[in-house]
């Protein structure tokens, strides 16, 4: 979230001290990343449109939680895809790897762990062991592909295309193609739902932490700028941004707490806490589901890596100008290898959410994901020319695509119709972005 407000002066806007006409001047003074802000506006517009089209039935906390949880597998992958595309590569195998790892989780928990290693259903932290194995597998696959791309020099399109085909084929051998179901209940919490939500108190807690984080980031940025002699934002801009950020964090928490537990779970809760249920059932706020917490964590970590770690800066440097990066002494090959390893780890996390939601795995998990993930990254502002793209943008891109999909399904439009709309929106979003960028540089 910090990137929206821009904690460092955006290039070309260092002269914020100069006056510009009225509203534009005010907006420029806040140094908001207009692209990202524009995406937020677009998302809000889409949600509003669906709400109008469905006479107000669409926009409710429960529905928005459903939509968000559906978007999470693609959003997690999109954060990694940004770095891959920024460094002028592509990863077409993400869908297959996600599917393979999801099937691995299912096979581990229903067969290999209990039967081959004697870890029965009550083995402590069995779900964590499975998750660890999945992440290791993802990193390994990413390392192999990354090695062939970076050190052997085969184009990433070719390597990951080969990965897409062979890995998808390999999944069949796990169960001769049959679906494998029956995961550990603790693992399944990663899929969200009533049981996998953190509840009212923790949700407010996250809202408060988020608010504090926004204020702290703004304060820290002001301090750093003063220290190094950069121009600071006007005080009113800082206060406005702080207030808006805080309001957003607390508002989202309040909204998430408007999502109540299903009647069956509420009854269970009432029983556990010795509360007598009023007529009409007890309204217990469910709060944020666990997958959303996972997504927040992944987004924050990935954004931090991209902007505050050397590895991230090397990726952007390489993407902007590969030769210059090489000549500047950056170990470009290792950097590329790491982007693909990261992609593999994210595929393991995404696969965990998918498998948890499905309580198992099928042959087709993740098929076509590569297209949605690339679309999300691109809609979020990542350019195929390399060097440009933000993590929050990709996450927003994933939400925009899923909002369309979910909204259309809510209205009863069939899958083919959803695909037609998604394709058109993708083209429009990128065209608008290109036009905007050209206008800005001309």
């Amino acid at each position: 979230m910090a990137n929206v407000a821009g904690t460092a002066p955006a290039p070309g806007r260092a002269e914020t001290g100069e006056s510009r006409s009225g509203l534009r001047g005010l907006v420029a003074a806040t140094e908001i990343d207009l692209r990202l802000f524009g995406m937020l506006v677009a998302l809000a517009f889409i949600l509003l449109a669906f709400n109008l089209l469905t006479d107000g039935r669409f926009f409710s906390p429960g529905n928005m939680v459903t939509l968000t949880v559906q978007a999470i597998p693609v959003a997690i992958l999109a954060t990694g895809m940004v770095l891959v595309i920024v460094s002028r590569n592509i990863d077409l195998s993400v869908g297959s790897v996600t599917g393979l790892i999801a099937m691995t989780y299912a096979a581990l928990m229903t067969d290999w762990l209990p039967n081959a290693l004697g870890m029965g259903a009550d083995f402590p932290f069995r779900w964590l062991i499975a998750l660890g194995i999945g992440i290791g597998l993802g990193a390994a696959i990413g390392a192999v592909q990354g090695f062939i791309i970076a050190y052997v020099g085969v184009p990433s399109f070719v390597v990951t295309l080969g990965g897409l085909l062979s890995i998808r084929g390999a999944i069949w051998y796990f169960s001769n193609g049959a679906a494998v179901t029956g995961l550990d209940p603790t693992f399944r919490l990663l899929g969200g739902g009533g049981r996998g939500s953190i509840g009212e108190m923790l949700t407010w807690g996250i809202g408060i932490v988020g608010c504090v984080a926004v204020v702290a980031a703004l304060w820290n940025s002001r301090r750093q700028r003063r220290r190094f002699g950069f121009p600071v934002r006007p005080m009113w801009a800082e206060l406005t941004l702080g207030a808006l950020g805080c309001a957003a964090m607390l508002g989202l928490s309040w909204f998430a707490n408007g999502n109540y537990l299903a009647p069956a779970l509420a009854a269970e809760y009432a029983q556990q806490h010795g509360i007598v249920e009023p007529p009409g059932g007890l309204k217990v706020p469910a709060g944020y589901p666990l997958p959303i917490i996972l997504l927040i964590g992944v987004t924050v970590v990935m954004a931090w890596i991209a902007t505050r770690r050397r590895f991230g800066r090397y990726v952007y440097a390489y993407g902007g100008n590969p030769d210059a990066a090489e000549l500047a002494g950056i170990n470009t090959r290792f950097t590329i290898l790491k982007t693909f390893m990261l992609m593999g780890v994210l595929a393991a996390l995404s696969g965990a959410v998918v498998a948890a939601r499905l309580n198992g795995a099928t042959l087709d998990i993740g098929s076509s994901y590569e297209l949605y993930v690339i679309a999300a990254a691109v809609v979020g502002g990542t350019s195929f020319a390399g060097g440009i793209g933000t993590i929050p943008g990709a996450v927003l891109g994933a939400f925009v695509m899923q909002a369309l999909s979910y909204g259309l399904a809510f209205m009863g439009v069939n899958s083919p119709g959803q695909n037609v709309v998604a394709g058109i929106v993708l083209i429009l979003a990128v065209a608008f972005d290109s036009w905007n960028r050209r206008r800005a540089t001309s």
Binding site: T54, A178, G194, R195, A262, G360, S415
Partner: protein, 396 residues
Amino acid sequence: MVMRKLAALLAVLALTLAACGGDGGAASDEPTAGGPDGTGAATGDCTVAVSWNNFQQPRWAATDQPNIRDVVEAAGGTYIDADANLSNEQQLTDISNLIGQGADVLILLAQDQNAVLPGLQEAKDNGIPVIAYDRLIEDEEVLYITFNNVGVGEAEATAILEAVPEGNYVLIKGDPGDPNASTFLPQGWDNAGLKEKVDAGEITVLNMSGENWPEDAGTYTEAWDTQTAQENMEAIIDAAVADGETIDAILAENDSTALGVVAALEAKNYGFPPLSGQDGDPANLNNVALGKQYVDVWKNSNELGKAAGQAAIQLCEATAMADIAIDVDESVAPLDGNSPTGFETPGGNTVQSIILQPTPITAEDLGQVFEAGWYASKEDICAGVTEDDPGWEPCQ
């Protein structure tokens, strides 16, 4: 320099001629060796070729293929096959290759009934009888061996309508390009009385996408994909809750979509209204035992494979189509007897067919599946079943 180029050109020409000559040779051998009026086949040297459309689906490797192969080899024949991996072009290539390898009979699982017609023609030109396996091909010379797909739909809807005669229904259909999903199964649903009840107002379908019946009734699921079914069902549940409607029953056309429906119901803690499916997939039969799915229409494809194998051998021995007799388990025996009878296709053709009967499996019927040697083992089906679950008794 010129000599080298000339030599290269000659080499290429020679190779090309050799290849063409080879093909020509095989092709010219065919009509005499393999056809129904040929002399070679009757001596027991029968090569049965199978062209699969999507061998990756678990069922074919688990049930159909082993049974066809065992029947053919027990009769002294040879079994060969190829997989088209969902591609029409690949299937045409496969058919050519199988013919080239000396096929006497072709068992054809068409990826697309129209796109496969050139391959069908090639087989006919070579005098090779064709069995249309599981999927219809609109041609009056083929032998169509399948399960009664309309009957499957009827079985699904009969079971659900019995459990929930009135209320709100959700219809989940399969891939819009598959005639099973768009035509045969919905026809079966209507035969069981669905349309009547909707017209009489006793049943309301919550997810209509328009006014037309049956085209707009229900939600299609591209590629029968489980995740797509899950996401669509979540949106449908949200819409129903927003409208204050309860979902009383769900008609899903097959098991992969039913699995997605169960996942959506669990994510929303909605409970488990009666749900249908078909195919007898292990995960779904487990759900039947656990009470999450009400009925799974099981097609014992062991018997379908046997029937096709038997028919193929008889066609090899130049038996006339009307005289073919198959021997299958009585639970699946065709209603019209064990010889082919005429079947009126949607395209207006009359195709000689052997149509086996499906078996609806609810929790109490699970014993039948255990006895039949299905690829879903009793362990798989009974995993996690406790005494509150409907499958407890049969699982003992």
